[in-house]
Amino acid sequence: MLTLLLILLPLISGFILLLTGSKNARQIALVLSLIEFGLALFALSTLKSGAVESLNYNIPWIPNMGISFHLGMDGISMLMVLLSTMLMPLIVFASFNKTYNNAHTLYALMMLMQSAMVGSFVAMDGFLFYIFWEVSLIPIFFIILMWGGENRQKTTFKFFIYTLFGSLFMLVALIYLYLHTANHSFDIQALYAAGRSLPLVEQGLIMGAFFLAFAIKMPVFPFHTWQPSTYVAAPTPGVMVLGGVMSKMATYGLIRWVLPMVPDGVHEYGYLIIGLSVVSIIYASCIAIIQKDFKYLIAYASIAHIGLISAGIFAMNMQSLQGSLMEMMSHGINTVGLFFAYDIIYNRMHTSEMSKLGGIRGVESRFAFLFFIIVLSNIALPFTNGFIGEFLLLLGVFQTNMVAASFAGLSIILGAVYMLRAFQKMMLGETNSLTLHFPKLEKQELITLCIIVILIVVMGVYPKPILEITESSIQTLLQGIQ
């Protein structure tokens, strides 16, 4: 019931916002998303107390087609739900000093998206998962279309068709598995059993179809071409959700739907995907280095980090999976942090071209300091959350595939190159005529940045509680695979 409430609350919030009109949309959205976060924390305490069954919700939906409304949560789902419900109030709060046209519709769409994202994290029925997966696409499409920047028509179009293209392959794979289940059911356990009984090649094909859908959404090279332009065209709240949470739907999907479903296929062909992910890391990092625009840089940096997560998932061991979940958490927080920093700069300077900026530290040192911590976390410095994730990931990948791990390790070095370079160009150096009038941070901005930085440091210094949430679930998952 609690799990159902986690989906319904943002859905209802969305409709409330649509009905209330523009005036206090921000405040209402913030309160509602905070309630949702509270609810998620309550679910966490339920999970910790061991009452896993009470998080299960299973009623038949379309019985003659074997589709049930089956929701459930284990540690992995829990972490993702926490991430999305934690980021949403932060994203809403980050947009507090901005006024959007039809703000109530914008926040309503955000809430609807929250509902779909949480739904995809807790769905334990293949069909239901697919529905939530697809539904989450519609609000973000309209957010970018209606509030986006230049070229938004073309960009949203590409984004939508691209993601839908991948999803349809997943749909075919799901139908194929469904037809192979014992009594035609979409239930996750039935699908697992069906997938595991398939011959090796078919398992590989199923893995490929799922991976295509997820790889486009994450995105991984060479399916990433929609991403930079979409990130650039999207309004800040939209891109925060897109990069912070939506990309995790895909990585979560790999852990939940691919690894346990076709384990032999992953064992046999997983190295291909690890290879692709490593290529993705290096490729995106190299491109990030030559970017002139900060927003593009964040977009490519995001691809690089996601590539590492994807490689870690397919390495399939305790460390790599723990690392990938940890990295999903920190990537979500850091992406929101980076985009928020971008937003602060862009609102003031009306440009995010790095060569035009410089010396902001001299004008607003508080911003430079907080921004620096976010940057450090992105290059995985110890005592930041990025370090925990990347360290575990590299350790895990190393155990499975030494070559891949040594190339993936480049991500940290290259990350340092592009991130520090960006910091240096924008924050250090001579203050020029443009940045001379860099207005001071407002209170709301300062608070948002502080929250992000605190999260980064706390998670980096004391990651144990987060690792504990997922530990037993990953063990169960790995046992099921062997």
């Binding site: 697919y130 529905i131 697809e134 209606m146 938004r152 028509q153 179009f157 068709i161």
Partner: protein
């Protein structure tokens, strides 16, 4: 029997009403009559009433009659203006109602003669209705084209029936089916089957006999196009399905591949051409053709559950079509008769209600959850894969993707582009139908099996 009487009596009544010059209240009579028809169908459920071995009102026939009559009611409410502005309103009423009578024959026949009669009674009023914009060249062209090609198709159908009769000695479907099951399939019978297949393909506007549809859909008055895309499509498919289910099941394997090719080609070609259209009416016509391709898959995978899938698909498609066409019509009249996609520019600011409902319809047609169009396509794909036609499903998916391209052109025009134009007011009847249809689109997604396991 009662259903047949109600529909034809309504048609005759409307002619009398024309004589007595009763204009306005007559819509109420028609809708009441159709509601009566639906309730009679509900009462006859499971009775399997057999009429002189010519037609049987089994659950299949009743379900399709209920669905098509409901669609007709919605259509009549939307098309109110079409009847109001015409001096010859009673003829139009009568023609539509007679056409509906033909539809009833088509969903309930058990004899080839009734099938032929049904198709003719359905089509001939349509030829007239397509040309009912008497002063418009395009409308005349549509009527003429439709009539000429329709006559050809009828001839094919008749010739097919004759060949079948020649080789099996039966006119009734059960007799032919029994004969085909007991004997080896002769070349003559196969030729008959293929001819009938061609004729029915024409009627449901599936490839390769779809060429008439864009011109006719574009030229006819928009409300008649709506009627063709919803009611006519539904009953034509029901007739098509019934013909092959009742008659040719024993020799299914002989022509299955033909259906697969028809489905695949229809889904690919029509969507490809549709993506190049800028005229919305023509675009919707091609979209209608492409949906025919999806529906053909249910004929390809004929088994006990496929009729339900067809029922669901036609219902969902028709509901979205009613929305799309009626909004198109309303937007067109408020944009200086502009039929291009540009007429939809900035619809969000002109009328948010219309923009949102239109988005519902287009999302449903492109098969994106949470709208029921997704469920319809899902069922069809599952049936195809289950029957070993993975490649047809893949073609369908490719077609769906192309479809997203052109549907989203309209959505993007509505939402992103700003257009300096006046606000659009939505009349009460249109608003009512649009709300009912939108709710239906969402509700059908939540409760699909209520429809799909009906028959």
């Amino acid at each position: 029997m009662k259903e047949l009487i109600i529909l034809s009596a309504l048609g005759v009544l409307s002619l009398i009403a024309g004589l007595l010059k009763i204009k306005r209240p007559f819509m109420v009579v028609v809708i009441a009559g159709l509601l009566l028809n639906i309730s009679v169908c509900v009462m006859d459920w499971n009775h399997n009433e057999n009429l002189y071995n010519m037609m049987t009102l089994d659950n299949f026939a009743l379900a399709f009659t209920i669905v098509s009559s409901s669609l007709a009611i919605l259509w009549f409410i939307v098309a109110n203006a079409y009847f109001q502005n015409s001096n010859t309103f009673s003829d139009h009423y009568a023609l539509v109602l007679f056409s509906m009578t033909g539809g009833l024959l088509m969903v309930s026949f058990t004899n080839m003669v009734m099938l032929f009669l049904g198709i003719e009674v359905l089509s001939i009023p349509l030829f007239v209705l397509a040309g009912s914009h008497k002063t418009s060249m395009r409308s005349n062209e549509a009527a003429f084209k439709y009539f000429l090609l329709g006559a050809f198709a009828s001839a094919f159908l008749l010739f097919g029936i004759a060949l079948l009769y020649g080789s099996t000695g039966h006119f009734d479907n059960a007799g032919i089916s029994a004969f085909l099951g007991a004997n080896k399939l002769s070349g003559m019978a196969l030729a008959g089957i293929v001819l009938m297949l061609g004729a029915m393909t024409f009627k449901v506007s599936a490839a390769p006999f779809h060429f008439w549809a864009p011109d006719v859909y574009q030229g006819s008055p928009t409300m008649i196009t709506t009627f063709m895309a919803t009611f006519v499509k539904t009953v034509a498919f029901a007739g098509f399905y019934r013909l092959f289910f009742l008659t040719f099941m024993p020799v299914r394997s002989e022509y299955a591949l033909l259906f697969a090719v028809i489905a695949a080609v229809t889904m690919l070609v029509s969507n490809l051409i549709a993506s190049a259209q800028s005229n919305v009416k023509r675009l919707l016509a091609y979209s209608s053709i492409s949906h025919a391709g999806f529906m053909v898959i249910t004929l390809l995978c004929m088994n006990n559950s496929s009729a339900g899938i067809l029922l669901y698909y036609t219902l969902v498609y028709s509901i979205s079509s009613i929305i799309a066409f009626s909004i198109f019509k309303w937007v067109k009249t408020h944009s200086a008769e502009n039929e291009e996609i540009s007429a939809f520019k900035g619809l969000l600011s002109r009328s948010p209600f219309l923009a949102v409902v239109m988005t519902f319809a287009l999302l449903s047609m492109s098969g994106i959850p949470p709208l029921s169009g997704f469920m319809a396509k899902y069922m069809v794909f599952t049936a195809a894969i289950d029957n070993g036609f993975m490649w047809v499903a893949i073609c369908g998916i490719a077609g769906s993707l192309m479809a997203v391209y052109y549907y989203f052109k309209i959505i993007i025009a509505m939402f992103a582009e700003v257009h300096e134009s006046s606000e659009i007011k939505v009349p009460a009847n249109l608003r009512f139908v649009l709300i009912v249809c939108s709710i239906a689109l969402l509700a059908l997604m939540l409760f699909p099996s209520q429809i799909s396991s009906l028959i």
